[in-house]
């Protein structure tokens, strides 16, 4: 049954072993993908129509209108790109340079800071394949991959056999969850679930550092020291440990220093090595961070001026919108009107929006110009970077009836 495998672009895991059946130019059956992946691959063929001012429009007219909006803007914002291929992302960076635009993706309010620290080599990391082959202790911290990346545990981090893990998860692996609620992932971890109060992560990290350093671990919320020491002992005994860091942990920290320190201390005190992997949501958010980093030395929040990139939180989508610093928005594969706080994103309604997206969204409904584009991985191919930095290339499953976001970006650039 060695099949013809496709890549699922439904989340940052980029599962590369998906088989499909087709019927009437649509995906009719999907094997091995999770529930979210199946929805993603089947819905890919749904059509939406490009629009200008809310009315169906020819592509050429829409391109012309989009170029006009961008030409007239003094400081346009280019945002999104977490669900675009590396190729489209590079095109968007080029366009941002040409327009002296503010460029940012969703990572500025998601796991961007962690990817940045990773690319600056501030902590030890590894690939998911390494975890499958060698991992004996894995910590899901403020992360619930069972819901966000359903095959995380079965494909890589807990249940599969690997080169040095031939005897099965019960004997050879220990999965730990640290969270403020009993998530589905925490449930699987059973007695290795450590529930902490909201905002209690920094203290828990410091207590763990004390625990593995032979000191009595203490927290203001009186987490039982005995349990903390049990956990410290599991971590100390690890030969190949990995912390999977989610948004729950990131949002609870004032700075990344404590978690970086923990990884350092564990590398000193544990039997083997310790690693950290950010559990990145969108299928190519890490790709955007890496592509922009290669170009500018920053992973997000930049403003171009005459080819040079300025960087800082003031160039994040959130701060730029809050300060009303941008006067037009080109939004690619993202729905900020749904995903950002309404108290901030309402300012987006005061400026012209160009939306490039495979499906109709709250943002596309408010856009001056909307381009209905192909779903990458379903209607078009390309390459992307998995959450652990591995590049994955993929082919389309269906023949595209719609242009790709990369093609639209190219045409807009030509029309400028």
């Amino acid at each position: 049954m060695e099949g013809n495998y496709y890549v699922c672009t439904g989340c940052g895991l980029l599962c590369d072993d998906i088989e499909v059946e087709l019927e009437k130019d649509a995906v009719s059956k999907v094997y091995t993908a999770c529930r979210v992946g199946v929805a993603h691959m089947k819905e890919g063929s749904r059509e939406a129509v490009s629009q200008v001012d809310g009315k169906p429009a020819e592509e050429a007219a829409a391109i012309e209108k989009a170029a006009e909006i961008l030409k007239n803007a003094k400081n346009p914002l280019i945002f999104g790109l977490g669900t675009s291929t590396n190729e489209a992302q590079k095109k968007a960076i080029e366009l941002a340079k040409k327009l002296n635009a503010t460029l940012d993706d969703t990572s500025s309010f998601c796991l961007g800071p962690v990817v940045e620290a990773l690319l600056q080599e501030k902590f030890n990391t590894c690939t998911l394949d390494d975890v499958r082959h060698k991992g004996d202790v894995m910590i899901f911290w403020g992360a619930d991959p069972s819901d966000s990346h359903p095959r995380h545990l079965s494909k890589f981090s807990y249940f599969p056999r690997g080169e040095q893990k031939q005897r099965g998860w019960e004997e050879e692996r220990t999965a730990i969850a640290i969270d403020i609620r009993k998530s589905h992932t925490a449930k699987i971890c059973g007695s290795n679930f450590f529930q902490i109060p909201p905002g209690g992560d920094t203290e828990f990290i410091n207590a763990l550092i004390d625990g593995v350093s032979g000191k009595l671990p203490k927290t203001s919320y009186k987490f039982p020291p005995k349990r903390l020491l049990e956990l410290a002992n599991i971590l100390k005994g690890a030969k190949f440990g990995t912390i999977f860091m989610g948004l729950g942990l990131l949002y609870s920290l004032e700075s990344l220093d404590p978690i970086i320190k923990l990884v350092e201390v564990l590398n000193e005190k544990a039997k083997g090595e310790f690693h950290l992997i950010p559990v990145v949501g969108h299928y190519n958010m890490r790709g955007f961070n890496e592509n922009l980093f290669a170009e500018t030395g920053y992973v997000n929040c930049v403003k171009f001026e005459n080819g040079e990139a300025k960087h800082g939180p003031e160039y994040s989508t959130v701060e730029a919108l809050k300060a009303k610093a941008v006067d037009a928005a080109l939004i690619i594969g993202s729905d900020p009107l749904a995903s950002l706080p309404r108290s901030i994103v309402k300012n987006l309604l005061d400026i012209p929006i160009i939306s490039i997206d495979p499906c109709e969204t709250l943002t596309s409904r408010k856009a001056k110009v909307y381009f209905s584009t192909a779903v990458t991985g379903v209607e078009c191919g390309g390459s992307a970077t998995r959450m652990d930095g591995v590049e994955v290339k993929f082919d389309p499953i269906l023949e595209a009836k719609r242009p790709t976001d990369e093609e639209i970006l190219t045409k807009i650039m030509e029309a400028l």
């Binding site: 999907v30 499958r132 249940f159 998860w169």
Partner: protein, 154 residues
Amino acid sequence: MTSTMELYQLLPKTNCKECGKNSCMAFAAALMARELTPDDCPPMKNDPKYKENYETVSGMFSTTEGATETGLIVHEELCFGCGNCVVACPVNVANDPYGVGSGKAPKSTGKLILIIEDGIVKAQNVDECRRFGKNKILCTGCIVTCPVEAIEFV
């Protein structure tokens, strides 16, 4: 789920052997193992004095409609399609170590018990399940790895 003993208490306890078993206790065990159904006990089915017990016992087993021969039920509406059970099932691992056993799509056409189809786990070849047959054991590989109790044995 009830025990064999509880089930036995509801049977006629006459050891009439009409069901083909040597005793009512053996019949109870056969019911539990899903070898026989309540209808295989003619006295209980036909004699009005056992009517109430017959209905009770039938009720116990009617919930298993849609269950496989091992009593495995998939609650499809709960399933995430995460594949934890597919990868953890010892029979799946033994039959396809480099495919599902390694977390990947099935590689061999060997007898896999659990696969993911359209994002939902599907049970097949259940006679291969360790909970089935003569040397059955109470394997819980697919149950304890499920985030949502989508697999149940009744």
